[in-house]
Point group: C2
Chain length 279, copies 2
């Protein structure tokens, strides 16, 4: 019998499910933790979602997501801060300490990546005190460089750690998401560094499928279907001292079209075979 | 009157043109250099192509391409070495010192990026003496990480420079291709390093278009159509001491479908506006 005690389901994996369906699916499958996206929480109601998850005996591994901090105008910046403060409060209500941030890309028409990255650092500075007050960690997620322009100008774990460096590790952490970082020649060293600096807030898993999907966002695959070496990366994360949840997050049209319960069965199978032995 | 003396056309930009058509197009447009792909040279004949280009008074800025060095079996490795030796001889025949290498991705079924990268280093070691004998520089091209798995496990300029480090700069150089490296948080430092180490063998330009094309290989765009800041990157390349050709290489279905002469007119316009002032 495999040990699923660290397995978490990110709700994006079963995109067509409502929050109650995700909760029910996890309970039936024996998956003890969920990482919900804010939209399905909002659809069900924040207090109701928190109650439902608690009553089902599930943990909340993380909340997805805040971020998009690169607005160049005052109005956009104020809106981003308001949205991120709301996300922090939602994390508290749901009982998770981990709020993912996808930091954002270039502003419309902008080409200055250095200036846009500086705005991420500036907004992070604005947000950290509020997060600390609420006991929520802001989790910087480096995204694959193919999403640099429009989703996250933070593309490597090293860059995330540099951005986190001014803050307490309980205030700003980093995520290791296999899809986004598997290609990085400096990955081993940066995972080691993340461990030393006590910054690893989440280990997210899915595979990198080829060919890249026509909608490049949907190239995430079921573990084992793509090119990622979960044994090696998982061992690095383990050796860095990470003992938290291992969250499965897959954006993939075929998986979205499949029966959710069958998807969870496959998730468990692949987790037990490819991930757990190295966790 | 703009100075086009450093402008080079990579033949992939006008994919439907034969070598004679590319040569004719460049002559008519006043573009003084071409970077042909090996397939159109082979179609026209190697000696004939060399003669044609010479007679037209054009320079050959580079030859695309050798590489694909990651075969895991002896037969595949021997074939790769034979193909790369042929490419070196073709470069000599065409009168260019710069042979691009796209190093290759994972072997079929393989997931070990570290082992595959080691095979790149091993094959490079095999190839360098032959390249040196022929006065040809092997140009390591880091490719965007979205192509890591299937085309090039060398994803950053820093990684290329590390790989080149054991060899004389006249034997192994690196390419700066804006499309592949624009997102790299370490780009400025690595371009400076490439300059110091005298490794910049080519500066290739095109834009990074959004959304990513359904065929991810075809997301390269005309300068000015995407997100890349040619002023900043171009200034870094200039300040690193690079004074060689600036080669336009665009894989883009819409551009391939357009009239080649019109494409060259646009190339010149955008080059004069966006690239030349910082070159």
């Amino acid at each position: 019998m495999s040990d699923y005690s660290r397995l978490a389901l990110n709700s994006a994996t079963t995109k067509k499910w409502t929050l109650p369906e995700v909760v029910d699916g996890c309970v039936r499958a024996g998956i003890p933790a969920i990482g919900p996206w804010r939209d399905i929480v909002a659809d069900h109601g924040l207090a109701e979602s928190a109650q439902l998850i608690r009553d089902a005996g599930l943990r909340v591994s993380s909340l997805c997501r805040g971020g998009f901090l690169t607005a160049a105008d005052a109005e956009g910046q104020a809106a981003a801060l308001a949205d991120n403060r709301a996300a922090i409060e939602e994390a508290v209500a749901l009982g998770t300490t981990e709020l993912f941030l996808v930091v954002g890309g270039l502003a419309p028409g902008e080409k200055d990546v250095i200036a846009a990255r500086q705005r991420v650092a500036d907004r992070l500075k604005d947000l950290v005190p509020f997060a600390v007050e609420h006991g929520v960690r802001l989790v910087l997620e480096p995204l694959h460089p193919m999403y640099a322009a429009d989703r996250a100008l933070i593309s490597t774990l090293g860059q995330s750690l540099d951005l986190a460096a001014p803050y307490d590790p309980a205030a700003v952490g980093v995520a290791v998401d296999t899809f986004h970082v598997w290609w990085d020649p400096d990955l081993k060293a940066q995972i080691e560094r993340a461990g030393r600096e006590q910054r690893i807030a989440s280990y997210q898993i899915c595979d990198f499928n080829l060919p890249i999907a026509a909608d490049a966002l949907l190239s995430r695959g079921m573990m084992g279907d793509g090119v990622i070496d979960f044994a090696t990366i998982g061992s690095w994360v383990r050796d860095a001292g990470y003992t938290g949840d291992i969250e499965v997050e897959i954006f993939n049209q075929q998986i979205w079209d499949a029966d959710g319960h069958e998807v969870l069965a496959t998730v468990k199978e692949r987790y037990a075979e490819l991930v757990l032995p190295f966790a």
